[in-house]
């Protein structure tokens, strides 16, 4: 074991780099006299000579040696060498940890040597253990030596003066991931313990083979640790973590990662150099997080500013030693962005790295373009949202309408509230909408006036309705309602007046629609003091009222749709009259519609009406949830759907139907049964607005893109990067791509075309505004 170790150490000398110099340490047995051997630690310092394109020994005092042990039997091994900050001297010095076994073999002596500026190896501190450090050992700032042994972690430093144990037990039982294990972090300096998940998420702990903490900062107060780190996992991935969350993942080309180093290439950003088992190495740009280069047969990787140019380079020393056995026979010194010195190395792969990095920049730009497009789309979405909200705010129902249900005599009660002074007699009349006949017909009503005491500015309609619901109705007597003189219980000036009108349902049904005009008739007193001598009757138009007749509609039909009596038929007819009716033409040119009738029947509460089987009754429990549906399949691709229901219900039904229907399906209302209302005009105008915004913009950008594509199409072939010319071409193509991507981000458009766009857009906007105005006027009658 011992000899094996020594043998190894002789073959692969320990290296470290500091301030552009490469230090090589080696332990040696030198025989002084014939019976005594002593162990020596020799080192040499190399620096890169650009002229010679090789590492040469620094001019003065490049070599050195230190005697570690004079005793014959003791044997010295280098455990670790690393640069570390010497806290006392505030300089970074190369540190070498060496070990020697005592003669008895029971204890081991360790000593940390530092290389002073005067090029001498000086012992920093020593410590003794009764075991050999076999597992991981680290030299940290301080210098501090940290190692683990049998599940415990120990450290020592000049400040500590002794070997201390960190109060954390290492566990290796993280194979089973289900029970969450606490992972802990530990600040060596302060001795504080923190939650390890703050830097590395739990699932990665078992996978991580090596990691590199780029930054870690404790935010005072809340104990949060801000950290960034990269970790190479056993799944051949390099994962970038920020504050304990995954930010990016890169697939690695090799297995068994061993070490990660960071290379700061200056303005080109940072590289991660990940070295793997058996001398594989790959470099990953931090920005793009993509592999840009990879090498094999690398025996040593050092990162430093060997060229003394202000940024780091990687020094790769390749295994395959020449006959001379010189340690730096074959190497590559590069930062992948222009600097490259190589001995016996193929230039070709280097150029490839170059192209790789260019490609990743390009991909980045493309990603930005995509983001931009998405933003555009979201804006359109937002616009549509605004439009739909606008629509809903416009609907402010003014009339309050109640329906009283009575199977034998359906009666509708209409109440309106007025604030009128000095009224003598008041009555309401309901007129049918001007339909087929030019003059609207008056519907038989009976009015009743109620004086409401205690005027209050904001009276809630619900309370009023409940107070007046006890009022009695009289049978209708005349075509025109009689005028009732309501007794004035108080001062009419301070009272409010409620006028109700009662009518039978039938005349409303006969009129073919349930939207009526309401007229108020009243006689006003001439003056407050005079006699009731010459009263002048007045008529006030109170606007339109939509009668909501079908709430709580109870018939034999609804109770039992299987009945086949004449009454049920009558019920069906009156139901069809009462409910609003929409007819839709459903057309799907490239996809058959399937069994829509079956789909409707599968819905909750759907029953077929036996009297007229083409109709389906949808009576899901709930207020005003009554629907009559009729599906008529014309071809497998076309059909006609008749919906008898309230508007909201119809929309809800269509929405769920749309989810069932193929995507390419179109639903068109078949000649709106109520004519093209103002709201329909408005919705069409808004739709047109949205569509034309989208079309104009895309047209403006599309044409341009096509132009450019056409221009660049001629140079589509990918040149061979092998030749100088080809390389130049590669570069040009890349440059052009970058340029094009940049242009796409902020495209230039033709002025004339843009002007035309704004003109047409303003016309469309104008139409939309007009439609909105019309709609407001009709829905909010003054």
């Amino acid at each position: 074991m011992e000899s094996l170790l020594s043998g190894e150490s002789c073959q692969t000398p320990h290296c470290l780099s500091l301030a552009g110099k490469l230090f090589i340490f080696d332990s040696k047995r030198a025989s002084v006299t014939h019976d005594s051997q002593r162990s020596e630690l020799v080192f040499c310092r190399l620096s890169f000579d650009r002229e010679a394109n090789a590492f040469v020994k620094a001019a003065a005092a490049a070599d050195g040696a230190a005697v570690i042990s004079g005793r014959r039997s003791s044997h010295v091994d280098i455990l670790k060498c690393k640069c570390a900050l010497n806290v006392q001297q505030r300089v970074t010095t190369p540190c070498v940890l060496v070990t020697k076994k005592s003669e008895t073999g029971e204890s081991f002596q360790f000593s940390l040597l530092t290389l002073s500026s005067s090029n001498r190896l000086q012992p920093c501190f020593e410590f003794k253990l009764n075991y050999q450090i076999k597992e991981d050992v680290y030299i940290l700032k301080g210098p501090t030596v940290l190692w683990s042994h049998a599940g415990d972690v120990f450290y020592t430093s000049l400040q500590a003066g002794e070997v201390r144990q960190i109060p954390i037990q290492l566990s290796h039982s993280c194979l089973d991931i289900k029970p969450p294990i606490q992972t802990l972090g530990y600040f060596v300096e302060s001795g504080q313990v923190f939650d390890g998940a703050m830097i590395l998420p739990h699932p990665y702990i078992c996978l991580t083979r090596c990691m590199l903490v780029l930054s870690a900062e404790k935010v005072d107060g809340d104990g949060v640790l801000k950290s960034t780190l990269v970790a190479a996992t056993s799944h051949q991935q390099l994962v970038y973590f920020e504050n304990g969350t995954v930010k990016d993942i890169c697939q690695l080309p090799f297995k068994q990662p061993e070490d990660i180093q960071v290379v700061n290439t200056g303005r080109n950003g940072c590289l991660f150099a990940v070295s793997f088992h058996q001398g594989h190495l790959c470099a990953i740009w931090k920005e793009t997080f993509q592999v840009s280069a990879q090498w094999s047969d690398v025996s040593l990787v050092q990162v430093d500013d060997f060229l003394e140019c202000g940024s780091d380079q990687m020094l790769l020393v390749f295994k395959d030693q020449g006959e001379t056995g010189q340690p730096l026979e074959r190497f590559l010194l590069t930062d992948l962005c222009g600097i490259s010195y190589a001995v016996r190395h193929n230039f070709h792969s280097h150029m490839l790295c170059y192209l790789h990095s260019g490609l990743s920049v390009l991909q980045e730009l493309e990603r930005e373009v995509r983001v931009k497009e998405r933003v555009l789309q979201q804006s359109v979405q937002a616009l549509t949202d605004v439009v739909s909200e606008k629509e809903s705010t416009l609907k402010q129902p003014e009339q309050v309408l109640f329906t009283k249900e009575d199977i034998q005599q359906p009666v509708t009660v209409l109440r309106r509230f007025f604030f009128l002074d000095g009224l003598v007699s008041v009555s309401l009349s309901i007129l049918t909408e001007t339909g087929r006949s030019s003059a609207p017909a008056v519907i038989q009503t009976q009015s009743q006036v109620l004086w409401l005491p205690a005027p209050c500015s904001s009276s809630s309609s619900s309370s009023l309705s409940s107070s007046s619901s006890a009022s009695t109705f009289q049978e209708p007597a005349a075509k025109r309602s009689k005028q009732h003189n309501a007794g004035s219980p108080g001062d009419p000036n301070t009272c409010r007046l409620a006028v109700t009108a009662v009518t039978r349902l039938t005349p409303l049904l006969n009129s073919g629609c349930v939207k009526c005009y309401v007229m108020l008739h009243y006689v006003q007193r001439q003056d407050a003091f005079g006699l009731v001598s010459n009263p002048t009757p007045a008529v006030l138009h109170c606007g339109q009222v939509a009668l909501d007749i079908h709430s709580n509609f109870q018939t034999r039909l609804l109770k039992n749709p299987e009945l086949k009596t004449d009454e049920v038929k009558e019920d069906l007819l009156s139901l069809m009259v009462v409910l609003d009716r929409w007819v839709f033409h459903i057309d799907c040119p490239d996809h058959s519609l399937g069994d829509i009738d079956g789909w409707i029947q599968k819905r909750v509460g759907c029953k077929r009406i036996e009297v007229s089987p083409q109709y389906l009754l949808l009576d899901s429990s709930g207020p005003s949830a009554l629907m009559l549906l009729r599906w008529h399949q014309i071809t497998p691709f076309q059909g006609e759907l008749s919906v008898h229901s309230s508007q909201l219900q119809m929309l809800q039904f269509l929405d769920s139907l749309l989810a069932y229907l193929p995507v390419s399906c179109s639903i068109q209302p078949v000649k709106a049964s109520r004519g093209q209302g103002a709201d329909q005009i408005l919705s069409l105008a808004l739709e047109k607005e949205v569509v034309s915004i989208r079309e104009c913009t895309s047209l403006l950008l599309c044409d341009k893109e096509e132009d450019e594509d056409r221009k660049s199409l001629g140079h589509e072939e990918t040149p061979e990067p092998a030749t100088v010319k080809g390389l130049q071409r590669c570069r040009e193509v890349w440059q052009r791509d970058v340029e094009r991507s940049r242009k796409r981000l902020s495209p230039l458009v033709d002025v004339g075309r843009y002007r035309r766009l704004t003109q047409s857009m303003s016309q469309v906007l104008l139409d939309g505004d007009l439609a909105a105005l019309l709609d407001t006027q009709t829905t909010l009658p003054s």
């Binding site: 969350t245 995954v246 993942i249 058959s592 399937g594 929405d655 989810a659």
Partner: protein
């Protein structure tokens, strides 16, 4: 830790929606006639993005239940994209990796390798988990892959579960839930294709593939019932047309030709691109002997094959997953195959000329020749193969002659003679190959065959030219050309190997040779009879009847010459014999130029009968 997963999932979902949006946009644009190629490029790009995303979301770590749904959704999307690009093995690999991870999540023991049993256990073990529906979506994909790989047996075993999948999914993704989700930006990852749509497509395609398979196995009625079910499912136009078409094929094999025709009509009405239905209906008309309808169908088929949409792959670019990926079984392809436009045109021309629409047929022949000249790949990809070019020339020539355009016919024949004359052999031995020796003759036989054909074409060309001159009543020229033909034909030495039956076999070289001999001798004999060289005429006509006993013209004219020579009884016997032949002579199988000419000097049968009747008493006396 929880927070970590949250943010992680959120981030990937956003990225995902991003990729999705693009794919979706592309689909929408697809309607705007974006070419198939571009679409494919885009799909490829999406696929690579999904691959990256799935790598990211799996993160190289063991699967966790917390974000199983997102992960499986990404797998679904990736898999679907690669299946849409026909990268089936890749999709299969992805799917098996995903199921592997699901098993890790549920912590079950490795389950059986038999696919249906595997999925049954898997579905059972994820029954109550949050990602139950995601696993069901994966099963849909598995279904699609089985279908694409024609593993119909596996599907059959698992059919009940697969078909009930749509029920479970539609209840889960109930309308209410869906409509409430839609519009809001929810954290539920989006799918590139609604699983219900996928299931609809898979159901229809499964029915179609199974129908075709059963039909090829002879289980027509079983196939028919499946196809009837499929026709009521919502499906793309093309697939609906296929179900009608295949129903027609079933009915045709159940010998219900009229019902089959109804189905084919429905198929064409549903989708005009379904030309295979037209082709099948034309086969039925042919079988029924309804020539006029057959010609009509041929004409329709030809014009629809010329439409650009017919040759395009169906539904390219319209949907993400094209049904053509799912329908690739051989038995189905056989039922959907259609001959090329040129060979349809050829049969159309031939049928027209044979069944009295001569001028129409001539036009079709000329169209065919023009098309062949503009498209020099003639004969390379034809299935069934078109006749060789000289034969087409000769057929066209015969058609032209029938249409009384002898000059055009002669020009075409000159063309044939010009190209083949140089290559004619001095002497040729015709060995009718026996069934067994056919393989042995090999290359030498093929070469000899070629030379034989060449000789027959030239002979036929001379024959047609002779007919032309006969039509023009230029008897001398006619005799010259007939003689040329005869001289050519006697170069062939027939080596008898098998039975004498060989002559009767239509289409064989020997049959053609004998037919040519018979016709040319008959033609020369008739020409001689017109110039009153009755002895020569009689000799030729006798020889003609020896070569081709079913030659009506030769028989009648032989009688006529005998009559003129005063050998009336013989003449009458000859006529009677000829008439008895005409009843059974078949025209269909012969090439057009081997038919007897309709244009030469004619003998009126009734007049001949009359003569026999006049002769009658003498005969009986």
């Amino acid at each position: 830790m929880c927070q970590y997963w949250w943010s992680f999932t959120l981030c990937t979902v956003v990225t995902f929606q991003f990729a999705f949006t693009f794919l979706f946009q592309q689909q929408e644009r697809g309607a705007e006639a974006v070419s198939h190629n571009q679409n494919q490029t885009h799909q490829r790009w999406c696929l690579s993005e999904f691959h990256k995303l799935s790598r990211k979301i799996q993160g190289g770590i063991p699967p966790l239940v917390d974000h199983a749904q997102s992960e499986l959704t990404v797998v679904y999307n990736t898999c679907l994209c690669s299946a849409a690009l026909s990268q089936l093995s890749e999709a299969e690999l992805l799917l098996s990796q995903a199921t592997e991870r699901v098993i890790q999540m549920t912590g079950d023991d490795p389950i059986s390798s038999d696919p249906p049993a595997f999925w049954r256990t898997l579905l059972k073990s994820v029954g109550n988990t949050t990602f139950n529906s995601s696993v069901q979506h994966l099963l849909c994909l598995q279904w699609a892959l089985w279908l694409a790989k024609c593993q119909l047996k596996t599907i059959q075993e698992f059919q009940d579960e697969l078909f009930s999948l749509s029920e479970t999914l539609s209840t889960e993704l109930g309308d209410d839930k869906r409509s409430s989700e839609r519009g809001k930006s929810s954290d539920i990852p989006l799918l590139v294709m609604d699983p219900r749509r996928l299931i609809e497509l898979l159901q229809t395609c499964t029915f179609i593939a199974q129908g075709a398979e059963r039909l090829s196995e002879g289980q027509s009625s079983e196939a028919l019932s499946g196809l009837q079910k499929a026709s009521s499912l919502p499906a793309p136009r093309m697939l609906l047309a296929y179900t009608h078409h295949l129903s027609g094929c079933c009915l045709a094999s159940m010998s219900c030709p009229q019902m089959a025709l109804q189905c084919y009509r429905k198929a064409v009405e549903t989708d005009s691109r379904c030309v295979c239905a037209l082709y099948q209906s034309l086969l039925i008309y042919r079988e029924l002997g309804n020539t006029q309808a057959e010609i009509q169908a041929l004409r329709l088929l030809h014009s629809s094959l010329l439409l650009p949409s017919a040759t395009e792959p169906p539904l390219a670019g319209a949907a993400l997953l094209s049904p053509s990926v799912l329908l690739c079984s051989q038995s189905l392809n056989r039922l959907l195959s259609v001959p090329s436009a040129l060979s349809v045109l050829h049969s159309l021309a031939q049928k027209c000329v044979l069944y009295g629409r001569v001028s129409e047929g001539v036009e079709y022949y000329l169209d065919l020749l023009a098309a062949l000249h503009s498209d020099d790949q003639h004969g390379v990809h034809e299935d069934p193969p078109l006749p060789r070019l000289p034969e087409l020339y000769l057929e066209a020539g015969a058609a032209l002659l029938t249409a009384r355009r002898p000059a055009d016919c002669m020009a075409l024949c000159d063309e044939v003679v010009g190209t083949t004359l140089e290559l004619l052999p001095e002497k040729l031995v015709l060995e009718e190959p026996e069934e067994t020796s056919e393989i042995e003759t090999g290359a030498v036989g093929a070469e000899g065959e070629d030379r034989m054909r060449m000789l027959l074409w030239t002979g036929a060309a001379y024959l047609l030219q002779g007919h032309c001159h006969t039509h023009l009543r230029d008897w001398k020229q006619a005799v010259t050309h007939y003689t040329r033909c005869i001289n050519l034909l006697v170069k062939v030495h027939f080596k008898k190997k098998g039975d004498a039956d060989m002559v009767g076999k239509q289409g064989t070289n020997l049959c053609i040779l004998q037919r040519l001999k018979g016709l040319s001798l008959a033609g020369r004999g008739i020409s001689f009879s017109q110039t009153d060289q009755l002895r020569e005429a009689l000799r030729d006509l006798h020889l003609s009847l020896q070569a081709a006993p079913d030659c009506v013209g030769a028989g009648l004219w032989c009688g006529e010459v005998l009559w003129r020579l005063g050998r009336r009884q013989e003449a009458a016997a000859c006529w009677e014999k000829t008439w008895s032949f005409t009843a059974q002579s078949s025209v269909e199988g012969l090439r057009l130029y081997l038919q007897e000419p309709q244009t030469g000097p004619l003998l009126d049968s009734t007049e001949l009968q009359h003569r026999i009747q006049e002769l009658g008493p003498t005969l009986s006396a």
